[in-house]
């Protein structure tokens, strides 16, 4: 009997990660995770946004804003990242206007980063969390994931830890996300993505060309009119990429 109990415990522990999402969200209910995003890049003004992670079965949707309520009462929003665990694929928004509209998406690995889990623990908003670090496309990140919420998800592309990412910041603390709410609610969302045009490598190659064209256009405007109000002397427009898209 004792052996049977031990076997049962081992079986539960073994299969628990596989049930990471469905154990929390099933039927008509979903998990809604609210993150506070803080962009802190002095001397530029700090900006604070609220962004959401909706976990619905084997899929999760990350987006900003409250979305729009349709005639059917469902809320739709422009999804910036979709993680589809059923086919181990992540899709992200990648507009390069005008060639690729705002409904253009690209695929990426899931998870896209490798973590190192450290033996450090902290309680954040009543969640017992463990520390993990990763280097992802040009930035070093420190994350804290909740040991009591075995959902391998997080904001943006971040995921792949044994628990939900409660807090994550890059080493310069420019990009910061912190969970402010976690709730199980009825599914009031109608979320989806647009056409997928290619993978991350294709996106990166096209983005670099698109960005260089943008810089050249800005330069041409400056040269045409050195006194131009929004492009002349004293004007700098910098781009702070969360992923290093230009190397």
């Amino acid at each position: 009997m004792k052996n049977l109990v031990e076997l049962l415990i081992i079986a539960i522990l073994f299969f628990f990660p596989a049930t990471k999402v469905s154990a929390f969200a099933n039927g008509d209910s979903i998990i809604k995770v609210t993150y506070k995003r803080i962009y802190n890049n002095p001397p530029f003004p700090e900006s604070v946004n609220v962004e959401y992670l909706i976990i619905d079965g084997n899929k999760s949707f990350f987006f900003f804003g409250e979305g729009k309520k349709g005639k059917d009462g469902k809320i739709s929003a422009r999804v910036t990242q979709l993680k589809d665990w059923s086919n181990q694929c992540l899709y992200f928004i990648g507009s390069m206007y005008p060639e690729y509209s705002l409904d253009s998406y690209w695929s990426d690995s899931l998870p896209a980063m490798k973590w190192t889990i450290l033996n450090q623990f902290i309680t954040i908003n009543n969640n017992y969390c463990q520390k993990a670090v990763t280097t992802f496309r040009g930035r070093d990140y420190t994350a804290f994931y909740a040991l009591n919420i075995p959902i391998q998800d997080g904001p943006l592309k971040f995921c792949g830890l044994p628990g939900l990412i409660v807090k994550i910041s890059d080493s310069k603390e420019i990009f910061n996300y912190e969970m402010s709410n976690f709730e199980k609610i009825p599914n009031v969302y109608n979320l989806g993505i647009g056409k997928v045009y290619g993978d991350y490598n294709q996106f990166k190659r096209l983005f670099k060309k698109w960005h260089l064209r943008r810089l050249e256009k800005d330069k041409a405007r400056r040269e045409a009119d050195p006194n131009c109000l929004d492009c002349g002397e004293g004007v700098t427009v910098g781009y702070t990429f969360i992923e290093n898209l230009l190397d």
């Binding site: 003004p45 705002l102 929004d230 700098t236 702070t240």
Partner: protein, 104 residues
């Protein structure tokens, strides 16, 4: 007797928050650099996590004019950043129409 008139003008720090139904938050502040030279900072958060950081330093004979020029420059660049992603800026940004903007 040598007469010297020194005018010190403090430029108020202003904060603007912009948002549209389609855009994340963009904020800007104005900061005084020296007499009648003003720098306006702005940042725009793209939906994909990237940011555009704008800095406009403008000088004028009056500080009020420098402040207005710097803020206008910053706003135009934020408009440009919003549109570069295929979004239509919020009316609160008071962006020029596309044709005017692309052919100033």
């Amino acid at each position: 007797m040598k007469k010297l008139f020194i005018f010190f003008m403090a430029v108020a720090v202003s904060t603007f928050a912009f948002a549209s139904s389609e855009t994340p938050l963009a904020k800007s502040i104005l900061k005084s650099v020296s007499k009648c030279t003003v720098t306006a900072y702005g940042t725009y958060h793209y939906p994909n996590g990237n940011n555009v950081d704008v800095s406009c330093t403008k000088s004028a004979s009056s500080c009020a004019q420098a402040q207005a020029d710097a803020a206008n420059c910053r706003d135009l660049n934020v408009c440009n950043a919003v549109r570069s992603f295929g979004l239509e800026p919020s009316p609160t940004l008071n962006c020029p129409k596309v044709s005017e903007f692309e052919n100033p």
